[in-house]
């Protein structure tokens, strides 16, 4: 995928051409039929690219390092060397547990530790002066964090709010992957509605209404709540387009306009 070609996803997110997602909260919602992980991979590549000089803090709850390494390698980004040069901070949280499941207090302590780990990492990064490209915090994915916390919604929301303070304090970007279909039933709407409210940009991946196809893997809906900084008004932009995933990236195109 040529980096010069106009990229529908980046246009929708409001990045590219010098602009970054710094200071904004991006929520990626996916479902069982279409995984939204490719959006995270795309953003990872963007943040770690040579032009951007950003730093990435990845809270990996769903996959081990080798998984991301292999995928990003095929997309032209070497995570191992990025990790060594401190542009990527990989927090392996596959086995993250908050001890003392029943007692809410110890879980709070667990979250506090997690947050302080994040905060110290960010302080170290900004002190080093590598903050030119901005810091991006990526959580993959938040439903795993919810399981680790045994569904303690309060703790998770507090943690999220603290992470959001980092976006204003340090100008970090926060990217969160969540699963929309888990929260679509009546008894469990809590987390998703809070996330959708807090997010500046919501990216939803869904299967096509017509079912499976080999050429088009799904559709993306991007809702971008324009930031009202210095503009006096905020404009919501809503875009919908289709995507096809390949090993070395993804193709985005308007419905019906795939080049075969």
């Amino acid at each position: 995928m040529s980096s010069n070609a106009s990229n529908l996803l980046e246009e929708a997110l409001g990045i590219g051409g010098g602009r970054t997602i710094g200071g904004r909260v991006v929520l990626v919602e996916d479902c069982v039929e279409t995984s939204g992980a490719f959006v995270l991979h795309h953003l990872m590549k963007r943040v770690l690219s040579l032009e951007s000089r950003g730093t990435l803090l990845l809270l990996a709850l769903a996959h081990p390092f080798s998984h991301y390494d292999r995928i990003l390698r095929k997309m032209g980004c070497n995570l191992s060397s990025q990790r060594e040069s401190n542009r990527l901070h990989f927090l392996d949280m596959l086995r993250l547990e908050f001890p003392g499941q029943i007692d809410g207090e110890t879980k709070e302590v667990g979250f506090q530790e997690l947050f302080s780990k994040l905060q110290t990492a960010i302080e170290v990064i900004s002190e080093r002066g590598n903050n030119n490209g901005g810091i991006t915090i990526m959580i993959d994915d938040i439903s795993m964090l919810e399981i680790a916390a045994h569904g303690c919604l309060d703790q998770i929301l507090d943690f999220l709010h603290y992470c959001i303070t980092l976006t204003s304090e340090y100008g970090c970007a926060l990217v969160i992957l969540s699963h929309g279909d888990i929260y679509s039933s009546d008894e469990a709407t809590g987390l998703l509605s809070s996330l959708e409210y807090l997010a500046d940009i919501v990216v939803k991946t869904e299967p096509l209404a017509t079912g499976l196809a080999a050429d088009v893997h799904g559709q993306l809906t991007v809702l971008n709540r324009g930031s009202s900084q210095g503009q006096g008004y905020s404009m919501n932009k809503f875009r919908n387009f289709h995507f096809k995933l390949k090993e070395n990236g993804a193709e985005y195109f308007y419905p019906g306009s795939i080049k075969t």
């Binding site: 069982v32 039929e33 279409t34 995984s35 992980a37 490719f38 991979h41 040579l50 996959h63 081990p64 080798s66 998984h67 292999r70 995928i71 390698r73 095929k74 997309m75 032209g76 980004c77 070497n78 191992s80 060397s81 060594e84 596959l94 086995r95 547990e97 499941q101 439903s143 795993m144 399981i147 680790a148 045994h150 569904g151 699963h179 279909d181 888990i182 929260y183 679509s184 039933s185 008894e187 469990a188 079912g211 499976l212 196809a213 080999a214 893997h217 995933l245 390949k246 090993e247 993804a250």
Partner: protein
């Protein structure tokens, strides 16, 4: 060829100038290590992206899933409350593992899980007239190893039953996947191995015991990049069955699956978990589906459904339907798109399990426009089949 020092560029190791000055070589290195063949472990096949597969025990399913069950993944089978077809999948999976001497951990909500091992099927014993089923389009005579097998079958008539079974067992171990004869039980000697661990979930107040067993089992099968020592299988039957002591603890069950997934990822094992998802709250059902790497569901077919009989060919032989929702894709972001996702479970010759694509029966000319397209995935066209 210009040596462009761009990240991720270049064929493996050709441009020496591409390597960075740091002591650590670039991620692309000369492919000498890969040239040496990996030691063959019975029942393990290697694929792309560093994937290793073990057979599910059903050759058709292996083919559908593109190789088999991938080591390091969790396969989830959503049960149908009306029919025990998930047990067919489980039995074939476990029997295949025992034939290949893979360590097995089996947990079930019954009081005596060991008894289930007695129902495992035995591999089909070929006689002279039987030919091993092969992939369509292959000419058996053109393949050398099949020639070898043909010679063996010819000599079979000179050996007694005992000796032929010994030969047959060795042959079975060599093959990646076997057809299983559901009418014949597995040999006793394969069931009395040290490497089989059976756990009953019935009286467990929580999932800690199971988690400890799984952890101990998987710690013996660590995954290191490169060689695979041994492959193990975990089979957990009806994890969320209502009769288990931990049934109401939704978050604990989700937490168990999450840690199982994490443990299996870093080991050379496959976990097959079946669950009657209809008893779970819908949000947790979705959570489990997201946690699974490969997601299948089995569905019963009503015995006397006239509408379905008109719609599908071969309806009388079908015992159930299998739907493939998701196929594991480790180390890659490209989803696996199958030509067809719904298959019928049939018993061939009343003993081996086969999966077939659904074929629409030719529509009677008087009732409407004929569509008669064979091999369609029934779910999108037929309104009566609702998944």
């Amino acid at each position: 060829m210009a040596a462009v020092p761009r990240e991720g560029a270049g064929a493996g190791g050709v441009g020496a100038g591409v390597r960075s000055a740091t002591a650590r070589a670039s991620s692309f290195s000369r492919a000498t290590a890969a040239a040496s063949p990996k030691p063959a472990i019975p029942g393990v096949k290697h694929g792309l992206n560093g994937a290793a597969f073990v057979s599910s025990g059903i050759p058709d399913l292996d083919r559908i899933l593109g190789g088999g069950f991938q080591l390091g993944t969790v396969v989830m089978v959503m049960e149908d409350a009306e029919a025990p077809h998930h047990l067919l999948l489980l039995r074939n999976f476990m029997a295949q593992g025992l034939v290949h001497r893979h360590p097995l951990l089996f947990a079930s909500p019954s009081k005596e899980p060991r008894a289930f091992l007695g129902t495992l099927p035995s591999p089909v014993s070929g006689s002279k007239d039987e030919r091993p089923r092969m992939a369509p389009g292959l000419d058996p005579d053109a393949q050398d190893h099949d020639k070898g097998l043909r010679i063996a079958w010819q000599y079979k008539k000179y050996f007694g039953e005992q000796q032929s079974s010994g030969l047959h067992n060795r042959d079975c171990r060599q093959e990646f996947s076997n057809d299983f004869d559901l009418r014949k039980p597995l040999e006793r000697q394969l069931l009395n191995g040290q490497h089989i661990d059976c756990i009953s979930l019935l009286d467990s107040p929580n999932l800690e015991i199971l988690q400890d067993h799984c952890s101990a089992f998987l710690s013996k099968l660590p995954r290191n990049d490169g060689t695979i020592g041994c492959a193990g299988r975990l089979a957990i039957q009806s994890l969320c069955a209502p009769q288990c002591g931990y049934f109401e603890m939704d978050w604990d069950m989700a937490s168990f699956i999450r840690s199982l997934r994490a443990m299996v990822r870093s080991s050379n094992a496959v976990a097959m978990v079946t669950c009657p998802t209809s008893v779970l709250p819908p949000s947790f059902c979705k959570r489990w589906q997201h946690l699974a790497d490969t997601l299948l569901s089995v569905r019963a077919i009503p015995d006397e459904d006239k509408d379905m009989a008109k719609l599908l060919t071969g309806y009388q032989d079908m015992i159930g339907l299998l739907h493939v929702h998701k196929v594991a894709q480790l180390n890659s972001q490209v989803p696996v798109i199958l030509d067809a996702t719904t298959f019928s479970l049939k018993l061939q010759k009343r003993r081996t399990l086969v999966l077939e694509r659904l074929n629409q029966a030719p529509v009677d000319g008087s009732t409407g426009s004929p569509y008669g397209v064979p091999g369609s995935s029934g779910s999108s066209k037929c309104s009566s089949i609702d998944f």
